[in-house]
Symmetry: C2
Subunit: 327 residues, 2 copies
Amino acid sequence: KRRAKPSVEDLVSQILKGDITALSRAITLVESKNASHVEKANAIIKSCLPNANNSVRIGITGVPGVGKSTFIESFGKYLTAQGKKVAVLAIDPSSSLTKGSILGDKTRMEDLVKDKNAFIRPSPSGDSLGGVARKTRETITLCEAAGFDTIIIETVGVGQSETAVHSMVDFFLLLKLAGAGDELQGIKRGIIEMADAIAINKADGENTKSAKIAKVEFNRALHLYPKKESSWTPKVTLCSALHNEGIDNIWNIIQDYVKITSENNYLQFKRNEQNKFWLIQTIEEQLKSSFFNNAEIKAALEKQLQLIEDNKTTPFAAADYLLGLRS
Amino acid sequence: KRRAKPSVEDLVSQILKGDITALSRAITLVESKNASHVEKANAIIKSCLPNANNSVRIGITGVPGVGKSTFIESFGKYLTAQGKKVAVLAIDPSSSLTKGSILGDKTRMEDLVKDKNAFIRPSPSGDSLGGVARKTRETITLCEAAGFDTIIIETVGVGQSETAVHSMVDFFLLLKLAGAGDELQGIKRGIIEMADAIAINKADGENTKSAKIAKVEFNRALHLYPKKESSWTPKVTLCSALHNEGIDNIWNIIQDYVKITSENNYLQFKRNEQNKFWLIQTIEEQLKSSFFNNAEIKAALEKQLQLIEDNKTTPFAAADYLLGLRS
């Protein structure tokens, strides 16, 4: 069977040498819907696996306006100055519509994008969060094989994308602003619970005082949660990405986390659990979508819903009937 | 094809006359795992459907010790005194182990159990919450066909059973105690958000003052949530089930709710949405369990998990492989 060049072998050997062009090409294959591209991508990933799993994976989230781009630029430059190789990826399920609403505009990270030890890739697009997440998760493997030792995954504070990012990183950083008191409430609590650290950004000038108050409040909020399985106590810290203040402290926190969770084996345990999660999740999504996207089922489902509404069948009898159509 | 007596037709006609023996027999068929019983149960339910859907369905939850049994006894007797016919059902997923840990001991509702206008049925047992919930949901239909106009479904404050009950009732009542300040926090918030009313029980004697304070606190907590789709504002009220105080007020609240949501059509809308939920939920559970309980898949899954752990495959490649085994 003939394949288009460059071959899987060529791309893999170039990726392992840290070649960015080969890495980008492989990611494009991962993101493709073309069946032969997908096959090639899977072969590349498989060959890269023995050289992957050796980075620190950091998830970063925060609502629009919190300064994520500025933070990642500042944080990324700090890391490359320490000799790190930094890949910045993203998960944004809305990017299927907007062709990449976060990280799409690389000018937002002007300096980092020029840094030869940094690699920035916008969110893949996709029809489902599961699909987008899979592509990003596979891209992590490729970046690790290419020698990137620090992977940053950005997401927006919307929908389930935080959960997806949380399920593929070692450390989850939540960016916050001071003075946004109502953010302690409602759905945001779930995100606070996921955080290994909360960094209150824009803690500069007039904001300094309210940022310090917010730090106390967030510390109190974090104490409402049960102790984490990792035995890690989430930290709250202040920073000003714009003025490059507090960035070193965040990296110190992450290093402490990695040290503690490496020593108590939680880091590896968590990665295994995450892999199981993605395995089960992918299977379940596929089972559901292949059932409900079947044309015959779709038509029959509409009829059954009408029968339920007319009190002529029950949801359970309708489910049994629909399942019977497939077996 | 011969059937065991009594026939489906006999049971249905007796149920429609309000015969409790026939109702109990039909529920036993619903709860059976025997295939011919299930078939018979489905036929009975189908025949009962045109006479169902005409009750007020009330879910009641609260942690152990809050006084659920005393409350339901007091509330149930109040309702039968008003001329209502009251069925008390339960969802307790743990009952598969304990053979019915809630409502199993009918002596807890001594007076109500003797009331000819009340019908008390312990939680069905089952291997999964989905299975237990299905049996209870189908029992509602039978009770309605037997003329019960008020259905009370009790559950314990554990796990996902509240969500199951919430998905089959019109009105969800949360029983609370005064002075349990920490109950505003953590996982309980999700349950508070589901509540259409919170009744602070044991608001008598020395507890009266702290119950009044709790009422203010819960009212404040409820205001943190967005307005409900029903346009109903959840109410907080005090009661003492032991002294039969405040019970009439709770029934007034429920009647107000039914009036408002009948007029704005939310009641019927919600029942349709609940039916859709159970339909989709049942199908998804069945798709998953038939996949993951397959012996070949089980064995292959173990192997794939090991390959993932050894960095020899990815969760996604493993999922594709496992899905391929079934198609």
